[in-house]
Amino acid sequence: MEEPPLREEEEEEEEEEEGDEAGPEGALGKSPFQLTAEDVYDISYVMGRELMALGSDPRVTQLQFKIVRVLEMLETLVNEGSLTAEELRMERDNLRKEVEGLRRGASAASPEVSLGPDKMVVDLTDPNRPRFTLQELRDVLQERNKLKSQLLVVQEELQSYKSGLIPPREGPGRREKDVLVARTSNASSDKEEKTIIRKLFSFRSGKQT
């Protein structure tokens, strides 16, 4: 809503500059609201020159005093007008800055506004920011403690074996090997045993084939 008239004003300001370039006569073609003290002096120059051209008739001199007086009045009004315009312009600029600041503050503050008293802001660029939930920590600790207790059991068991407190377990593989060693040693010393075993072996192999 505010923007279009502002832009118009700026354009008019540009026109004012153009008027200056047009020379002293240009001042007479300007909008009275754009008139400056300089323009009034230009007009005085133009009119003074024309009055001089009219010669030294006393009526002209009379008119000249009145014209000078009118131009002085115009000068005062233009000066006051431009001062007021300058003040208004400054006030407008200040208000514009203020609005901008408030707008920026509002957009920056809006996420904080939605935060309750128990909320926390996390800096996502902080490598040490909180990342894991309490439940995750709980789970990890439980697993750690479970593994630790299992390790202690295993260490204890290992110690028992090392100190000979528990005899080595008799596994099936071990028993077969023991028996086999016994058989071979017996075989070399006892002929009868050997034949019986051989019989057994040939019987078995015979059955297998």
């Binding site: 920590l137 709980r138 600790l141 439980q142 697993e143 403690n145 479970k146 630790k148 204890e156 028992s160």
Partner: protein
């Protein structure tokens, strides 16, 4: 499976403000060592020590808790399974002593009703920095009907005595029976609440 090398398993718990020396007290008892570097316990940890009392081999499973407020929801879930709880404060830290009443309330709220409690005033080697008189510790212990020791994990004062006394007090209350697999198998975690992986 290996034969059980102990007759009974007692679960103990250490609680108290952050920095009072719970971990150091436990480390002195379990490993007979002391370390001055302060590393805050994360949540909950435990150590094992087997002792012999009245001809019985007793395995002590001692749970060491984080004193920091932010771990309380984790640590309080371990109160339920404890048979004995040691409340530790630091004799050079008045606040840690004031908070003992808070820790006692926590026990009332979260632990078993018949749990054996004990009060420890740790760092008693630092008498020049003492702010809590021994009498104040004795008084609050008397008011709650619990035992009290001043200890030093650093100078190894009363540490073993405190643990053995607590274990004896629990043993006295323990009905004489053959241990069943439930209360001796440490890998199961037994009655410790929150140890769900094995008990469910």
């Amino acid at each position: 499976m290996a034969k059980k090398t102990y007759d009974l398993l007692f679960k103990l718990l250490l609680i108290g403000d952050s920095g009072v020396g719970k971990t150091c007290v436990l480390f002195r008892f379990s490993d007979d060592a002391f370390n001055t570097t302060f590393i805050s316990t994360i949540g909950i940890d435990f150590k094992i020590k087997t002792v012999e009392l009245q001809g019985k081999k007793i395995k002590l499973q001692i749970w060491d808790t984080a004193g920091q407020e932010r771990f309380h929801t984790i640590t309080t879930s371990y109160y339920r399974g404890a048979m004995g709880i040691m409340l530790v404060y630091d004799i050079t830290n008045g606040k840690s002593f004031e908070n003992i009443s808070k820790w006692l309330r926590n026990i009332d709220e979260h632990a078993n009703e018949d749990v054996e409690r004990m009060l420890l005033g740790n760092k008693c080697d630092m008498d020049d920095k003492r702010v809590v008189p021994k009498g104040k510790g004795e008084q609050i212990a008397r008011e709650h009907g619990i035992r009290f020791f001043e200890t030093s994990a650093k100078a190894n004062i009363n540490i073993e005595k405190a643990f053995l006394t607590l274990a004896e007090d629990i043993l006295r209350k323990t009905p004489v029976k053959e241990p069943n697999s439930e209360n001796v198998d440490i890998s199961s975690g037994g009655g410790v609440t929150g140890w769900k992986s094995k008990c469910c």
